[in-house]
């Protein structure tokens, strides 16, 4: 019987974490070495958690499917990391960062978690600087800041356009130190395929060794999943090729609740699809919208070159619809508007694309100024598309980017399965229905450096879990099931390739569970996903064998999980009869076409329990807004 208890501490919001830290049980330093902790994933959340726990004295086993911990997808984050330092003296505070994040998330996040996130944001910057992260500096030697969407203060710290890389390398270096000291045992090229649960408690994991195909068993006193998001359910997304949902999905199938799966973020400024062979989508920094103007032709099916379309025949639709925010309207609104004009048949040269035009900016500021501001982005664009954006407008289109949903966790970041903790993008906790820019890095590191080191100690001290041997029958059972499943993929020996089926799933999701959704479309999607899943299990083709490097086999397993998660995303979207943040239901909009929340009925976290495949039970965690008043976002 699942019972949701968010375990939010008592007291004023600004005192909850402080009080909680005091009230939590401790483990004395000499005893910490008696505990083993498994950390799956070595991105910002996983690497920072593994390093911090090892520093405290725990024995950590860290797992990554990459060849090295440093490859995790956190490395691709460009823009920056938020913190409430108020170094700019522009009125920032912990409270303001908290407020902006709750509002940016369209009032679907837990206040207490978000406040803690804002509270520890400052420690993160201190920590990273101490590790040698080369953040941008002013001439006087102090740290530089820039501003980002959804905020009126400059609170974003950055390292050129490679902030994610530098923060991850910082966490990776801390992790490397612990590996060198022998406190972390690093297992690379291992993919977690199952969570082992005995007597309702998480006891370990089962992995596939991606080099020799062995199915391996590992046990520990607690298991931490920091395995990222699931945007690749759309096949095409800004996520790296190997990002997948397998770890959290298989934990879900072992009883962990999956919260708000339909909350996905579609980023408005990505490079459009160039053809069938496209493997992923590339993000272009949102900062381009500061000077670029977004437009399409007023005419349907206009196939002229952009430079041949006269000014009066262009529709600068964001400036027209949202005069006060214009081209800088929030991500969800900009993305939806691009889809609207494409659906009307007005995409750039008939393609799924709109123009982002710097002609006016170049006239106004001069080519040199534009080069200084955006030179490297223009180069990236030209490398990929072969077109020079100084002469021809860029083509951009929205793409799946981040998933706010994830495994349900309580205030301690523990799932409903005792001993199973979930950090970073893999959990649902802090971004509600929409994430603000420069907040993903903040959350990953907050969870790993400053939350889990406290809360895991409390669990181990209070619950006193016993560590089971990997010879326990349940480990053996799970190992056997995993081996059978692995072999099954190969034995189907059908006709369709994994990628061909994944692309079809992506199309269903993009068209019907993407930027805007409606009841009929979602119901159709559920049927189509089920049919496709059946087809997969009858007709997929996985060559090679399971005792070797077999990348097709790896992708087949991940796709099998996507084919199940996809259905739950549609089920969740269908259940949520409102529009909020990244979730836009066409039936629920204002007369002007804006998102219409339904606070009366849907101010809750939808946490889903799988009863059997295709049948989920909804558990609601009601959200209380005591400190930030529920209000409507407006960008007119």
């Amino acid at each position: 019987m699942v019972k949701l208890d968010s375990k939010i501490p008592e007291g004023h919001i600004s005192e909850k974490w402080t009080n909680h830290k005091f009230n939590m049980k401790l483990i004395n330093p000499a005893n910490k070495r008696k505990y083993d902790v498994i950390v799956v994933g070595t991105g910002l959340a996983g690497a920072s958690a593994a390093a911090s726990l090892a520093e405290l004295g725990y024995n950590v086993k860290a797992f990554t499917f990459h060849d090295s911990a440093r490859r995790a997808h956190s490395i691709s984050a460009q823009g920056g990391i938020n913190a409430a330092k108020n170094y700019q003296n522009d009125g920032d505070s912990i409270y303001r960062l908290f407020y902006d994040t709750v509002k940016g998330g369209d009032f679907r996040a837990r206040e207490a978690n978000v406040y803690r996130l804002a509270e520890v944001s400052n420690n993160i910057i201190d920590q990273c600087v101490a590790q040698g992260v080369p953040f941008a500096r002013e001439y006087g030697g102090l740290l530089d800041n820039r501003s980002f969407g959804g905020a009126q203060v400059s609170r974003t710290f950055y390292a050129r356009g490679q902030t994610g890389q530098q923060l991850l390398l910082g966490a990776y270096s801390a992790l490397s130190r612990q590996v060198g000291l022998g406190k972390v045992k690093m297992y690379s090229r291992r993919e977690m395929l199952e969570l082992v649960v005995v007597d309702g408690i998480a006891r370990g994991i089962v992995c596939r060794n991606l080099v020799n195909g062995e199915i391996e068993k590992y046990s520990a006193h607690a298991v931490i999943l920091a395995t990222g998001g699931y945007s690749n359910v759309f096949f095409l997304s800004t996520n790296a090729m190997n990002c997948n949902t397998t770890a959290i999905w298989r934990a879900h199938k072992k009883g962990a609740l999956f919260a708000n799966p339909c909350f996905t973020q579609i980023h408005p400024t990505c490079l459009p699809v160039h053809g069938e062979g496209q493997s992923k989508l590339t993000l272009m920094s949102e900062s381009l919208r500061n000077d670029g103007r977004i437009w399409v032709s007023k005419k349907k099916g206009d196939l002229r070159e952009p430079n041949e379309i006269p000014e009066e025949e262009r529709d600068y639709y964001l400036e027209r619809k949202y005069p006060s925010f214009g081209n800088l309207s929030p991500r969800d609104i900009s993305s939806r508007s691009a889809k609207e004009v494409f659906d009307e048949g007005r995409g750039a040269k008939g393609q799924e694309a709109v123009y982002l035009d710097f002609e006016d900016a170049i006239k106004r500021l001069g080519r040199k100024a534009i080069e200084e501001k955006y030179g490297n982005l223009f180069e990236i664009y030209e490398t990929i598309t072969g077109e020079n954006p100084y002469n021809v407008p860029m083509k951009i289109y929205p793409a799946p980017h981040y998933t706010m949903g994830g495994l349900w966790v309580d205030y301690n970041l523990m799932s409903n399965i005792p001993g199973l903790f979930v950090l970073g993008e893999a959990n649902f906790s802090d971004h509600g229905a929409n994430r603000l820019g420069a907040s993903a890095l903040m959350q990953g590191l907050a969870d790993g450096y400053f939350v889990i080191p406290y809360t895991i100690g409390n669990y181990l001290a209070a619950d006193k879990p016993e560590k089971l041997s990997v010879d326990h029958t349940e480990f053996e059972n799970v190992k056997k099931q995993t081996e059978d499943l692995t072999r099954k993929f190969i034995s189907i020996n059908g006709k369709q390739t994994v990628d061909d089926i994944h692309k079809r799933l992506g199309r269903i999701m993009w068209n019907k569970v993407g930027m805007s959704r409606n009841e009929n479309g979602l119901k159709e999607a559920i049927n189509e996903i089920r049919e496709l899943r059946e087809e997969f299990w009858k007709d997929v083709k996985v060559p090679g064998d399971d005792k070797d490097i077999n990348q097709t086999l790896e992708r087949a397993g991940r796709l099998a999980d996507y084919l199940e998660l996809a259905e739950l995303m549609a089920v969740d979207a269908l259940n949520r009869n409102e529009s909020c943040g990244g979730h836009f239901r066409e039936e629920y909009q204002t007369e002007e076409g804006e998102a219409l929340r339904n606070d009366e009925e849907y101010t809750y976290v939808a946490a889903w329990e799988m009863e059997e495949l295709g049948k989920w039970k909804l558990h609601k965690e009601d959200l209380q807004f005591e400190y930030v008043k529920l209000s409507t976002r407006s960008y007119k």
Binding site: S173, A240, H274, K541
Partner: protein, 256 residues
């Protein structure tokens, strides 16, 4: 978007495992010039899979040139013919219809081939484990602005920190030296005030592991800098040599 399809002949290194001998296998493919190089391999693999044949094993992840996972030797050059990009950023419009393209794994004693185009670069992690860090624990650190760092210093440190750990420097070097990789990390920390307390200890430990793993020495051919997708400067190697020399001079252990 643009242009006609290209017909290409590919000569790709196939090797079933670390202990087996490999050889080049010929493939014919037609691709769009808008495809990336790795998308071309995806398409070839999809075709092989649909025919029930084993696809070509190669690695990639972010496909934006930042994670360092990908790395192929293309027509004899690590990451291919275009300077300062990783393999995943190379696009087919840089090739001509009718071209023959040779595709190989990175080749170095310290990077054994695991399968086809996949090599084992875990030596880089071992070097990092030995000293590629500043020894601070989580918590208890000073306020970020208590440490003043001149803008130019932060910027130079960042130039070195931009290394993506792909290993192209090793593959490009006739000695299979890892000096560019190691010196980039040594430089990043040696330049910053936070990295100064353990600068000598760091360089000594990292260089020792580098040597133990069988990476070669630097003989100043500059091949690493030429092939580095991030343009990491050879000056870092000079800096590391100075650091190493100083470390030895200041060392209390007498070597005879």
């Amino acid at each position: 978007m643009s242009g006609k399809h290209l017909n290409l002949k590919l000569k790709i290194w196939r090797q079933s495992g670390p202990q087996t001998a490999g050889s080049f296998v010929d493939y014919q493919i037609e691709v769009s010039p808008d495809d990336s190089f790795l998308e071309m391999l995806d398409e070839l693999n999809n075709k092989l899979e649909s025919e029930g044949k084993e696809p070509i094993a190669f690695e990639s992840d972010c496909r934006e040139g930042i994670c360092g996972t990908c790395g192929l030797v293309i027509n004899g050059q690590p990451h291919g013919p275009i300077p300062k990009i990783a393999t995943c950023q190379l696009h087919m419009r840089n090739f001509n219809n009718g071209d023959t393209i040779w595709i190989e794994p990175f080749r170095a004693k310290a990077f054994p081939v695991l399968k086809d185009l996949i090599v084992d670069r875990s030596g880089f992690d071992e070097i990092m484990n030995a000293g590629g860090f500043i020894s601070v624990n989580t918590g208890g650190v000073p306020d970020a602005n208590d440490i003043l760092i001149p803008k130019e210093v932060a910027s130079e440190s960042m130039d070195a920190a931009a290394c993506i750990g792909c290993g192209a420097c090793v593959a490009a070097c006739k000695n299979a030296s890892a000096m560019l990789f190691v010196s980039a990390k040594v430089s990043q920390f040696a330049l910053l005030p936070q990295g100064k307390p353990e600068r000598f200890r760091r360089v000594e430990k990292m260089v020792k592991v580098m040597d133990d793993l069988g990476f070669g020495s630097c003989t100043n051919t500059y091949a690493c800098e030429a092939e580095c997708p991030k343009g990491i400067s050879i000056r870092n190697i000079a800096r590391m040599n100075r650091e190493y020399f100083l470390a030895k001079v200041k060392s209390k252990e007498l070597e005879v």
